[in-house]
């Protein structure tokens, strides 16, 4: 793809918090922000959904917006994609200001929302052709793109069936395929794998990785820490309309307390005996359980079981907990998340 582009960001009032001017020219690969937002706010009536968030996504990278239901993820996507207008804040998408030139932003982006945005009455192929026509692609080119995408998303067989007969996973794939018809430089994916079975989820991840490999910039929202971990270069944690943490997945995980091991016992005597030989982090006399710090590695478990054996304590069951989104929220906000 030959690209000669001069991205000009007009910034008439360089006040505090204004967007940095970025210039991209052919041949030079600089870290250009494909998506940037400063002080984004949105309320619906009395309810403040976004309370001043800042986001930057360098070109060709994935940012995951991680948060529980109601954190404001979808609203953030709506504001960045011109679907809704922010109450305050500055946005630049591929160098364009949606407040001044929404059509230019729309030309650069592709959006796959949380709710299926396919035309159920049209077939998969017709849906893709509809997108090609709206992008004013010549018929021949449009048809070829539609075929390519049907192949790539394993929808070729179902291509001539109405989309409302598709399964959830197929609809999601068609939805994303429709987003790709126009060859967008910046893609927004709102919870792309929510409700998908594990296999479809893997397929979706592979597709997303493929897009970034081609140089596309992606902002995706998710409720799943492992999804952010798998896909994203950077993760921004959204809670109650604010970004409470941002960093690489590794940085973020370093801030989460490690996993723990839970032991359950048959009666209180066994529990008490175990508590004396181990140094539990938590104890529940009613549930007859002990919580121990530990990562659940084989060597940790072996050592633990040996000490219990030596003390002649019987363990009923053992569970290893790895950190999940709840732990992230607990660590970052001090309150339970979802």
């Amino acid at each position: 793809m030959e690209l000669t582009q001069h991205v000009e960001v007009r910034d008439p009032a360089p006040e505090r918090g204004s967007v940095t001017t970025v210039t991209a020219t052919t041949g030079t690969t600089t870290a250009v922000a494909a998506i940037s937002a400063r002080g984004l706010r949105k309320s619906f009536g009395e309810k403040t959904v976004l309370d001043g968030i800042d986001l930057t996504v360098p070109q060709g990278t994935i940012l995951a917006l991680l948060g529980p239901n109601g954190a404001g993820k979808t609203t953030a996507v709506h504001l960045l994609t011109t679907y809704l207008r922010p109450d305050a804040g500055e946005i630049r998408i591929a160098g364009q200001d949606p407040a001044k030139n929404p059509q230019a932003v729309r030309r650069a982006i592709g959006v796959t929302g949380q709710f299926s945005a396919v035309d159920g009455y049209l077939t998969g192929r017709e849906n893709l052709m509809l997108m090609a026509d709206l992008h004013l692609l010549p018929k021949k080119v449009g048809r070829r793109r539609a075929e390519e995408l049907l192949e790539r998303f394993e929808l070729a067989e179902a291509g001539d069936k109405p989309a409302l007969t598709y399964s959830g996973g197929m609809k999601r794939k068609l939805d994303l395929a429709m987003t790709l018809v126009g060859g967008p430089k910046v893609i927004f994916l709102d919870e792309p794998t929510t409700g998908l079975d594990p296999r479809s989820r893997r397929t979706m991840w592979d597709i997303i990785r493929g897009l970034v490999a081609e140089g596309t910039t992606i902002l995706l929202t998710t409720q799943y820490l492992d999804e952010a971990d798998q896909l994203a270069h950077r993760v921004a944690v959204l809670d109650g309309g604010r970004i409470v943490a941002e960093g690489t997945p590794a940085e973020l995980k370093a801030r989460i307390p490690g996993g723990h091991i839970e032991l359950a016992f048959a009666d209180r005597a066994e529990l008490a005996a175990a508590a004396t030989v181990l140094s539990p982090a938590g104890r529940d006399d009613d549930a007859l359980t002990l919580q121990l710090a530990g990562d659940g590695s084989v060597s940790t478990l072996r050592a633990l079981l040996k000490r219990l054996d030596d003390a002649n304590v019987d363990v009923e069951s053992l569970t290893v907990h790895t950190p999940d989104l709840d732990d992230v929220f607990f660590a970052l906000t001090g309150t339970k998340g979802a």
């Binding site: 793809m1 619906f44 011109t82 809704l84 729309r106 992008h135 004013l136 126009g182 060859g183």
Partner: protein
């Protein structure tokens, strides 16, 4: 992705009028495909006026025709055939109103579809979704009117209009279609549910009954008669009847044009405003 450059270039003037037309045509094709694939709504709104036509000609027509007096031109006095000629224009008007009701339902249904949300984040001419609906509805309505007219002729309607009068009649029907369709697009957009959208245009079906469509207004009691003479469907009916069967038109044509143009313009502005307002968070 060599196609991208092409798409970008083609889009440089996306906001121009010609692209609005291209996009409207694409949306029209989409709507026609919906109608063709799921014809139950089209069938329902076409059958309704046919049922009324047959009911009024074969059940009530004999008696009502005898009561028409000297309303119809010479040679069409009394009986079922006179009434078939009297009521046919009203049935045509009803076919237009029924089709418009179908449009309100189709628009309300469409607004619940996720694909409309997708269009809002694409560089698609804003007006094209609505103009696509109106163009599709106009084609559907005219097809319905042709069917209704053909059946009316089969049951005794004998229009004797010259070419100019036929063209004028088509023009009046088109104008009426345009007005009630835009009105129903607005009703469809403002409806909170598809059920509301199917109920709110009911008055368009009922209004022709409170006018000169089925019985002459001078046979009505005073209060209703006053309403019947001033409501918009009466001049429309009188104009169509005049053009097709040769009754007196008078200033009904000009009143018809005023009502239709006024309704169309106001409804268009209203609909555009409803569509442009910020969508509710989902």
């Amino acid at each position: 992705m060599s196609t991208m450059t092409m798409a970008d270039n083609a889009f440089d003037t996306a906001d121009s009028r010609s692209h609005a037309l291209v996009h409207a045509r694409i949306m029209l094709r989409r709507n026609l495909r919906h109608m063709q694939r799921y014809p139950s709504l089209t069938l329902m709104v076409t059958l309704m006026p046919l049922v009324f036509l047959l009911l009024f000609v074969y059940i009530f027509g004999g008696t009502l025709g005898s009561g028409l007096g000297g309303v119809m031109p010479a040679g069409l006095h009394g009986g079922r055939s006179a009434y078939a000629n009297y009521v046919a224009p009203a049935i045509i008007v009803m076919a237009v109103a029924a089709a418009a009701q179908g449009t309100a339902i189709a628009v309300a249904q469409d607004m619940t579809e996720g694909i409309i949300a997708r269009f809002r984040t694409m560089a698609v001419a804003r007006s094209s979704v609505l103009t696509g609906h109106v163009a599709g509805a106009t084609i559907q309505t005219m097809a319905g009117v042709v069917v209704v007219t053909a059946v009316a002729i089969a049951v005794g309607f004998r229009p004797h209009a010259n070419v100019a009068e036929w063209l004028a009649a088509v023009g009046v029907v088109l104008l009426l279609t345009f007005a009630v369709t835009w009105l129903c697009v607005g009703l469809g957009l403002s409806a909170k549910s598809v059920e509301t959208a199917s109920n709110s245009p009911m008055f368009l079906i009922l209004l022709p009954f409170l006018g000169s469509g089925f019985v002459p207004t001078n046979s009505l009691p005073v209060g209703i008669r006053w309403f019947a003479e001033y409501q918009p469907f009466t001049p429309v009916n009188e104009t169509l009847r005049g053009l097709l069967t040769g009754t007196k038109i008078g200033d009904n044509l000009i009143i018809t044009i005023a009502w239709c143009v006024g309704t169309a313009v106001l409804s268009y502005v209203w609909s555009r405003r409803l569509y442009e307002r910020e969508p509710k968070p989902r």
